[in-house]
Symmetry: C2
Subunit: 124 residues, 2 copies
C-alpha cells in the first residue's frame, strides 16, 4: 500500500489537526518528497503550490508542527496529520486555525481571536 | 468575500469533522453547486470526481451529514464542515472516519473498528 499521489497530479491534500484538542488547524498539500520528509523528520512538510517548492512549515515563523501521528483515508489520497503546533497558531494571519471564519447567511464572520500579530512574526 | 473555486479548476477540498467529538471524518470535494446546496439544505453535498456529478452524502446509505457549521480558511479555498453523521459512520467501508489507518514504519495499520458492515448497507 502507498499514498496515491498520481490521482491528482502528484499532490494530495493533507489536513493538520491539533493532537490535543482536535481542532482542525489547516489544509495544505503534499507531494511525495514532502510526505517522506514529514515521516522521516517528524515535522510537517508541505508542498507550496504558489511557490512551487517544499514548505517546511514554520521555517520562517518558527511555528513548526511536531507530528504525533499520520493517517491515510480509505482511498489513500488524503493525509491527516495529528500535530503539536509550536507557537499555538497554524495560520499565517495569527489565528490558531486557518478556519477562523464561519460562513453565515450575510457573509464570512471571524469567530476566533488572534494568537499572535503577523507583523511581529513575519519581519519581512 | 466568496469561496475561491477558480484556483483549482472549480473544486475545493471540504473537510468534514464530527461536531460533537472533533473527529475528522473525511475529505471530499465541492464545486459551487455542491457548496450552495449544502448551505441551503443543511446537509453535506459534495462533488464526486469519479462520478462527475453532485454527491448528496448518504443518498444511498441513508448516512447523511447534518451540517452544524460551515467554515472557510484564510485563503478561502478550503471548507470545513462540522457535522452530525447520521448512522455513526462516514466511510463507505463502514468506519466512523475514512482515516481508519495509521501510517507506521512497516505500512498502513488499521486503528479503528467498523461501525457497520458495508455489504449490509450498500445492497447493490
Amino acid at each position: 500500500m502507498d499514498i496515491d499521489f498520481e490521482k491528482s497530479g502528484g499532490l494530495v491534500p493533507a489536513v493538520a489537526q491539533d493532537a490535543a484538542t482536535g481542532q482542525v488547524l489547516m489544509l495544505a498539500w503534499m507531494n511525495r518528497d514532502a510526505y517522506e520528509e514529514t515521516l522521516q523528520t517528524g515535522r510537517a512538510v508541505y508542498y507550496s503550490r504558489s511557490r512551487g517548492k517544499l514548505w517546511r512549515k514554520g521555517e520562517e515563523s518558527g511555528h513548526v508542527q511536531e507530528v504525533r501521528g499520520v493517517y491515510v483515508d480509505c482511498d489513500a489520497d488524503t493525509i491527516l496529520l495529528k500535530v503539536h503546533q509550536v507557537g499555538g497558531a497554524a495560520c499565517h494571519e495569527g489565528y490558531a486555525s486557518c478556519f477562523f471564519r464561519e460562513v453565515k447567511p450575510d457573509g464570512f464572520k471571524v469567530i476566533a481571536e488572534k494568537v499572535f500579530d503577523p507583523k511581529a512574526v513575519y519581519k519581512k
